[in-house]
């Protein structure tokens, strides 16, 4: 009886796994399929995952929409600029966070933790007022600053982990050779941090590229919209906007994030598992 039950366990596990795969993967497959269906097919009552004919024109349509391309440009500007700023600012700070003890470290770590549970709704109102006073609402510069500020805690956390992995001895050797702290940082620490910087940069880029709430509150004129905002204006009037191009535009918007995440996948899962492998 027990052997029989054990023989059933594996198939049951595969059935469950298949269920998960369908649940997690099907929505994206459907979006991709909708992006290559003609509007006639999308509105017909025949519902199938594979399109009757591949209608690539949706992608051309999506790209031909003025708003979509220019807002993708805005998103790229904001994401690249805030990523560069985050790395530039967080790199030195992460070094201090990892190497020094005492009040600075405690305050830094505490703030990073709090920022993970930050009530953005409470912050966004005064933030809007502050940025309006200095004329930075409805401006990409303002959004860049905001994205920089709100991506930084996690970037700091990632980076300081990489700093902590660099043996202190290496730095001390550099110091003995006559370099002062900044020279040691530049010559020894930062080069060793390169992989960590790449991973953190990808994370920052994705955070900013995907971000919706601050962009919604801060940007008012359509020429400043980022990609998520423009996409969101296309819905609502689904009758007016053809579903096919909307799906195509959504697929295009998701590509950078998915690509970066797949590259980081090993780091995201692997980082946690590193300690477990020994077990």
């Amino acid at each position: 009886m027990r052997v029989f039950a054990q023989q059933l366990v594996r198939p049951a596990q595969y059935v469950a796994l298949a269920g998960y795969i369908v649940f997690l993967g099907f929505p994206l497959l459907w979006l991709i399929s909708a992006s290559v269906k003609s509007s006639a097919e999308l509105n017909s009552l025949v519902v199938s995952l594979l399109p009757q004919e591949w209608h690539w024109a949706n992608y051309a349509d999506a790209l031909a929409r003025q708003g979509l391309v220019s807002s993708a440009g805005n998103s790229a500007i904001v994401a690249l600029a805030s990523t560069a700023l985050v790395i530039l600012i967080a790199l030195p700070a992460s070094y201090v966070l990892a190497r020094l003890k005492g009040a600075i470290r405690a305050a830094g770590v505490g703030w990073i933790l709090v920022s993970q549970v930050f009530p953005v709704i409470l912050v966004v109102l005064p933030l809007f007022l502050i940025l309006r006073t200095i004329g930075l609402t409805d401006s990409l510069v303002g959004l860049i600053l905001v994205h920089t500020t709100y991506t930084m805690p996690f970037a700091l956390w990632m980076l300081q982990g990489y700093v902590a992995a660099i043996p202190v001895d290496l730095e001390e050797a550099g110091a003995v050779d006559g370099g002062n702290r900044l020279v040691v940082l530049r010559r020894i620490v930062f080069p060793l941090l390169a992989p960590g910087v790449v991973a953190t940069a990808m994370f920052s880029f994705v955070s900013s590229w995907n971000e919706f709430f601050f962009a919604l509150v801060l940007l008012q004129s359509p020429e400043n919209y980022t990609l998520p905002i423009t996409l969101s204006t296309f819905i609502g009037g689904e009758g007016k906007v053809a579903l096919g191009p909307l799906a195509a535009g959504s697929v295009l918007a998701a590509i950078p994030s998915i690509v970066f995440f797949s590259i980081m996948q090993k780091k995201l899962t692997g980082g946690l598992m590193a300690g477990a492998v020994k077990g």
């Binding site: 459907w30 902590a164 905002i229 994030s257």
Partner: protein
């Protein structure tokens, strides 16, 4: 909103015993540290600490979102008004249902997937990549995608139900009774990957000897799960559940794009409600008061939850000692 909590930093290497540096050098090092930290401190202070404090202050004013704002302190007027605002408390109740349901379902679904991924099946790498996709996608795209899945006419969900002979004309996101459950499913889909990855890492840290020993004592799979796996995962479950709850309670973009709080306010999460009060009705003082109430309640709930977890832990250790 987007920040994952994985990629834990590797353990810090203990420093070799060093003699204390002379205080002059100490001061120089401290100045150096300050110089390195300053660039990141500035935007934090101006764009995140200051707004938080101002937000709390705003809650006690009658500020409105106009060009030349003219505030007056009104004491706790906003809060007394809020206490009698039944729309706000309706929205609060919906927010609690949403956050609790999504958090619990995420935990159960993610635990199931993590256990499967940890039991040496094939297709693991495919599943792992798939499991990360919801995490990576922009929330707006997620919402657009699920609107298509739920579409009443040409949506695959209704088509599937129809093929089973079930009713196939449900307007999932527009029907009063199905809208909230429908957005909860999307919330689970979005948040599952992160929880799975975290739990999987926890599972892999359980020493296999524990399970083997339990096996030898004749414990079946279920018994091993409740006696070995669950207790070992407990700290991770507690922390990921707390974080998920806060993230879910604070969530905005997904539901804003899916339903904008409709139909008839059935999916009006408190964050949406507050946002509309601030930027559509332009009452930022009143909206700030809502924000304060939401934060205070979440902090209180979390304290109660974490304390009860902590107490259980102590009781258990006592039992073991006794």
């Amino acid at each position: 909103m987007t920040a994952p909590t994985t990629s834990r930093p590797p353990a810090r290497t203990p420093r070799p015993g060093r003699r204390r540096a002379p205080s002059g050098l100490d001061r120089a090092r401290r100045r150096e540290a300050a110089a390195l930290v300053m660039p990141s401190l500035l935007p934090i202070l101006v764009l995140s600490v200051a707004p938080l404090l101002m937000g709390v202050l705003l809650a006690f004013t009658d500020a409105e979102l106009v060009r030349r704002p003219d505030y007056q302190f009104v004491g706790i007027d906003n809060f007394t008004r809020l206490a009698g605002n039944s729309f706000f408390w309706d929205s609060f109740r919906i927010g609690m249902i949403w956050a609790v349901a999504v958090t619990l379902l995420q935990l159960v679904a993610a635990l199931g997937l993590a256990l499967l991924l940890n039991s040496g099946l094939r297709l693991q790498s495919l599943t792992r990549v798939l499991a990360l996709i919801p995490w990576a996608m922009p929330p707006v795209v997620v919402a657009i995608m699920w609107r298509m899945i739920y579409s009443p006419n040409a949506g695959p969900l209704n088509a599937f139900l129809g093929s089973l002979g079930l009713p196939d004309d449900i307007n999932w996101l527009a029907d009063f009774s199905t809208a909230l459950p429908a957005v909860i499913v999307v919330g689970v889909w979005v948040g599952m990957p992160q929880t799975t990855v975290t739990l999987l890492a926890g599972l892999q840290q359980i020493p296999p000897e524990l399970n083997e020993a339990a096996s030898m004592d004749g414990a079946g799979a279920w018994r091993r799960f409740t006696a070995v796996t669950l207790p070992s995962l407990r700290p991770i479950v507690t922390s990921i559940t707390s974080l998920n709850f806060i993230w879910n309670f604070n969530s905005f973009s997904l539901v804003y794009v899916l339903t904008e709080g409709g139909p008839g306010g059935r999916t009006m999460l408190p964050m949406l409600f507050t946002y509309l009060e601030a930027f559509k009705n332009r009452n930022i003082g009143y909206a700030a008061a809502m924000g304060v109430v939401l934060v205070v309640v979440v902090v209180l709930l979390l304290t109660v939850y974490l304390r009860s977890q902590f107490r259980d832990d102590r009781v258990e250790t006592k039992k073991k000692e006794g």
